[in-house]
Symmetry: D2
């Protein structure tokens, strides 16, 4: 099975050469924790990217990023509204319950794993305003969503308006934020909307071990810094994480990588037609196909996960081979 | 200020070249999380090192290693006996309270930040055996200690016997375990004693971002695996951590690095005489000297932390320059 | 509005005279906490009632009883399967998240708020057996259910068999356990099935401030005793709670009270016909009726809660006035 | 052993007749939780007592009162400074760790179990202002202290000024607040000083099962209301607790009861002379006496706890028999 034909996930892809270089370049520096020059530079760099004041922390995983961010927006006795197929609900082993000290995830619906003001209200409006029921404190959306769908800027604004009207915080899980911006063609600021905190993912986009939590309210970052250490996520050689993050921002490498992944996904999608369970707006494809069809694809060397009984999931990465993507497209067309 | 004259800490030293190589070597592999070949190999490699069954997990920081280990040994309503100057008490931002869900650290004394059966009993014997007082569930010792002292195998056995007699778990914080083994000249098994879990530190010993939690009871590892993910410490590209750990074990690089650090410390210690607050048994020196003396040393380019009002702390690392150590020794002798 | 025509809830009804007497009778005793003679007697009394070894703790509320029990059956990283309309999910303000340190409630379906092996499996079978998803540790059922339905002994056995096969604990929320036993006409042991822990409710059944957690595995009680104190639920004058509990057991007062409440409910139900949303098997009635019909009933002095837009909920209590129940039955029949 | 000669503790004394009456008087009312008229009246009654806006919640135990109050003043990643012999540290089974989600108790010294600005600063000034060490968020003092000593109003002001200067909350554990006010002869407001929250104890002062948490900042009470329910401390028949609290406030019964207890303690103290380990300022006496002397006292029918190897602890209560106190005084004098 050729490595180039692997479309299992983007979460274990190789590290981009520029990140290796950036890490090697800080090998001699020795300021511990986040006291190094690069860590100190992050606020300004994200500030420039988003066009407003930012306070940014590196952290090794998306789960930690999401939970440290949410812990600043939701009290232990509160709840976080998220999609019922959100990563924080489905794939983080109960980490929100740990980091938020027992706060509740409030599960809402929405096509393509995207929340809407309506689906949010359908969940929270029936909550009695009394002490017997957990009250919502925050909303978390995933950009791009778990089904590879992107929130349009106006959709985020609508959710943000609802959040503001209800006194709720807003968090964006941007494990694939780069893919969303690449697809939307808008500014990063538009793609994050009126959120207070963004988990800006790099690991799935060519990084090794660094995500950024970007706070648009610096007071939240002050809390998160204590919580990061308390969670054992303040690495003493944090400069290697800062180096990854800044290398990703340098020359918009994050966007370039995401575009490459999206392009490979689009190439595959071009031949999938009605087989697509969701429009392809990022780097994930959910493709209806029978067991026999999947066997046929695997026999040709393609790697991917089953998605339930009747579909396959393909994920492209920053380093997906365009030729392999074309080959897969043809293979799907030939099924 | 020359970098070679820095004795601030070992916690931000450069990464050993063999670890860089090992990480690069797994760049192409893409099994996510701990599903890669190297992660899978860890149990056997540690098993060989300790001469008994082991189950080992990589994790990015010593704080996470300590707390994930302790969470398997102490219930939320219990307590962990540790030295009042233990790292888990003094420098982990309350992480044990977070990971152990509010369990209590029970602070005992002992020269050189080392517990003894007597100091432990002085703390736990007065605890009434009723539900009004938190009962001890585990003991945590630091090998080498926070003052660079090493537990002799017989000392660990005595503590282990006490632990067993009282039904307590035993954890070893081995952030500088290599330095302890290097000093003691015993086997790793003897240096860890009858513990159920060891935080085996590599980051301070030439690593980048990988420590190992070594469980001598595999059932505890099964719990810790869930807790690691729940804490956001299961990295999707964990192979880079596994690569670091295995490279450290390869040819006993961990021991070689520790010996180098210890040798540099011994060289400096050789000229410190009565200035030493603690015998030097690892890679840390606590040296009495006046403010003026410290200024004199700094004027010569040496870097180190003040230790209270009347002392300096010097820490050597795997890559400390022997010449610089000799130079510092002379400088101290000349004060 | 006459008090006798109140059918709002059983949770605030008067205290039974025998409990007042029992409390007054221990006024002079002064052994603190649970060291008094009555508290010490509880294990034996419940043991006699259930025909097997029991260890029982008093506690002031059903929420505390449920959560202290569940905390012995589910680790912080695990999950508790319950009905999506279970009290622990809907009406305990996130208490399970607090007491279980962030463990997850796993919501399953089932008619009448009753779980079945099938509905449980529908929830837990799709959970991947890996560290990314929370694994179930326990099941909690409510006897009688939140819709006033009772589990038959064979239904509990089937759930218990499933629990055992999957290695899950089983808890029974018996806030209205007396009503269930009264309806089922079986023994208390049959009505609790193969559970490890029962929240045996007395407050809704004529008590003032005492529920019992009955453990059928005494080791769990040993843990719960520490957790009860740690939760601030160990009252220093616990003898007043023990007195309530024992007075309830004396001469099966709990059963007598429950029968009275059930009889009143049955009387009302007799005239409700197709209006009943659920068969009436305890002391709660969910009755379809329009806003106008509810207004008509309220105009006649009856008190009750709306149940959504199209129904009313009536709850009878140990001291419901049979005449008022008959009157309500007639009023409903006349709608 | 005559009951009247018991001086074991005040925590299990009989309930005052006026409280029995008050509880019986609300037996017929049936508004659940804290929706009853008496619960609703508490804010105003405490407001009148303290001469400023108050928001008050009943709760069954002092441990719950302390922890619910502290949870509003200290984040999970912060610390609470208290005396190393404080009840929250010594006798609450780790409840602060549970309720405050792992926050740390920071133990300071002070004669008579009383903190001073100096002892507080000795503990918190060495804390480095960085994320590696837990930062203090609040201070908790006990009025009267665990050794029966009272904070003078000016002492509380000094601590309050320090708290304000450092941005810390201030909580008063008033398990024996009545005894303190009775001794000090000042107003309740002066005896609580500039605290944000007071645990106003009634159980040790003739109550059955009701303490009050009095918040001087209503926003904190809003949080505590959710936390109380979440902790299983919102009793559905809360009216019986409210009745106790209001009966205690009625005609200053709390003060009358405390004065009686203090008078009995003073009577005993009058004969203790140099035997007293602490001045007697409330209702507790710590009296040096040998084992033989204690045996002699017990042989005369007196009940009390040993206090370490060389002392006895006597506690008087609201209903202590003055004759028995005199008799004990004589017995001590005759030793």
């Amino acid at each position: 099975m050729s490595r180039s034909k692997q479309f299992l996930s983007d979460n274990a892809a190789s590290v981009h050469p520029q990140l290796w270089e950036a890490m090697r370049a800080v090998d001699e520096a020795d300021a511990p924790y986040d006291g190094d020059a690069l860590s100190q530079e992050m606020d300004a760099r994200f500030g420039a990217l988003f066009g407003r004041e930012c306070a940014a922390l590196w952290v090794a995983t998306g789960t930690a990023a999401n939970c440290l961010a949410l812990a600043t927006l939701c009290d232990p006795h509160g709840g976080v509204v998220c999609h019922r197929e959100a990563h924080i609900e489905m794939d983080e082993a109960g980490a929100p319950g740990f980091y938020l000290h027992g706060a509740k995830l409030m599960l809402a619906g929405g096509a393509g794993a995207k929340l809407t003001p309506d689906t949010i209200c359908a969940e929270i409006d029936p909550i009695r305003d009394d002490v017997h029921q957990v009250q919502p404190h925050a909303i978390s959306v995933t950009q791009a969503s778990e089904y590879g769908r992107c929130y349009r800027p106006e959709e985020l604004l609508a959710i943000g308006n609802l959040a503001q009207a209800r006194g709720l915080g807003l968090h964006v899980d941007g494990a694939r934020f780069g893919n969303a911006v690449a697809f939307l063609g808008c500014s990063p600021a538009e793609a994050v909307g009126p959120a207070q905190a963004l988990s800006f993912g790099f690991v799935k986009n060519g990084g090794m071990s660094a995500e950024a939590i970007v706070f648009f309210d610096p007071r939240l970052a002050d809390i998160a810094r204590y919580r990061r250490k308390r969670a054992g996520h303040l690495q003493s050689k944090g400069r290697y994480l800062a180096a990854q993050v800044l290398a990703m921002l340098e020359g918009d490498l994050w966007l370039e990588n995401a575009r490459a992944a999206n392009a490979a996904a689009a190439e595959i999608a071009s031949s999938c037609g009605d087989r697509l369970m969701h429009p392809v707006e990022a780097n994930e494809l959910f493709v209806r196909c029978t067991i026999a069809e999947r066997e046929a694809l695997r026999a040709q060397g393609f790697g991917f996960y089953d998605w339930g009984a009747d579909a396959a999931r393909f994920v492209t990465a920053w380093n997906s081979d365009p030729a392999a993507a074309s080959e897969l497209a043809k293979a799907v067309a030939s099924l």
